[in-house]
Symmetry: C2
């Protein structure tokens, strides 16, 4: 039995899985523009919307949705991971509270085990953008119901795959 411990989310640690979206504001952005008579800082083009893969019929467009998610009761046994073969998927919190991000590396055709998993916790001013085909757990929030803007895809084709974990893995009850 494996218990997962969350590590702080950083762009480097997450680089295999997707992009960390900095919602802090400040000077450390690649494209920072001052507009609106000096009143607005625009931090431009924060992540990569990838809807390049086409499903059957070949229609695809990016969409923005609202997620309202209840806390995941802990301890939680991790049984199923999912991925989206046709699009990236970004999560942008509408508040400044941390959330958990569980991702996995995998080789097609090889059963997924505990060693494939990585658990991260955001600093409250971070969003994330899963790359297309990144294995991940469904959204995990703790403490209270949370709202997120989610950027992914609508269109033809099946954009959800799931796989079962082969061994016993838990997210323990902990104070995050």
């Amino acid at each position: 039995m494996t218990e997962l411990i969350a590590q702080p989310l950083t762009a480097t640690a997450f680089s295999t899985f997707g992009e960390v979206i900095d919602l802090q504001g400040g000077l450390d952005y690649a494209q920072r523009m001052v507009i609106n008579d000096g009143l607005t800082e625009r931090f431009h083009d924060l992540f990569t919307i990838d809807i390049s893969a086409q499903g059957a019929g070949g229609t695809a467009r990016p969409i923005v949705s609202l997620f309202q998610t209840k806390p995941l009761p802990l301890p939680h046994r991790v049984r199923v991971m999912e991925r989206h073969p046709l699009s990236s998927q970004a999560f942008l919190p509408l508040d400044d509270l941390p959330f958990l991000v569980l991702v996995a590396t995998a080789t097609d055709g090889v059963p997924m085990t505990a060693t494939a998993l990585s658990l991260f916790i955001t600093n409250g001013r971070q969003g994330i953008n899963f790359y297309r085909n990144t294995w991940h757990h469904f959204q995990i929030v703790l403490g209270k119901t949370r709202r997120f803007m989610v950027v992914d895809r609508a269109g033809s084709g099946e954009n959800l795959q799931q796989t079962e974990l082969q061994d016993e893995v838990w997210i323990p009850a902990a104070e995050y």
Copy 2:
């Protein structure tokens, strides 16, 4: 001299100018889905990202940026309005505070006057999506610096036009 008074933002009142994006959650959505073992309500595809118009060279992609905007000092004289001929532009607040939205109707070639203007105030759980070519004032927030996710466009072509107002219009100092 005209002083603008804000009216509550509703989808009906705003329908000429763009879409009102409901960030409240609840049951009143056209596409509401329950996912993630029942923990998440997905309010699907909230607004229309329009990058259908092409600039010179014809490259365009939707992007998401962070805006961090300081309060506009009031009273404020409205001198210039702007529009984006190549894309819609959505503003999604990262908090639950109201903001002002100043828009205008116009006929190309006819100077813009005070009667063209409409000022709205959001309820705190609303975002907005300006239609392509909707005349609007740059972002107006009051009270404290605010952060927004903005969905618009990157690509070839000039996506900003501006016009000067022909008469004297003010947003008065008021308690919103």
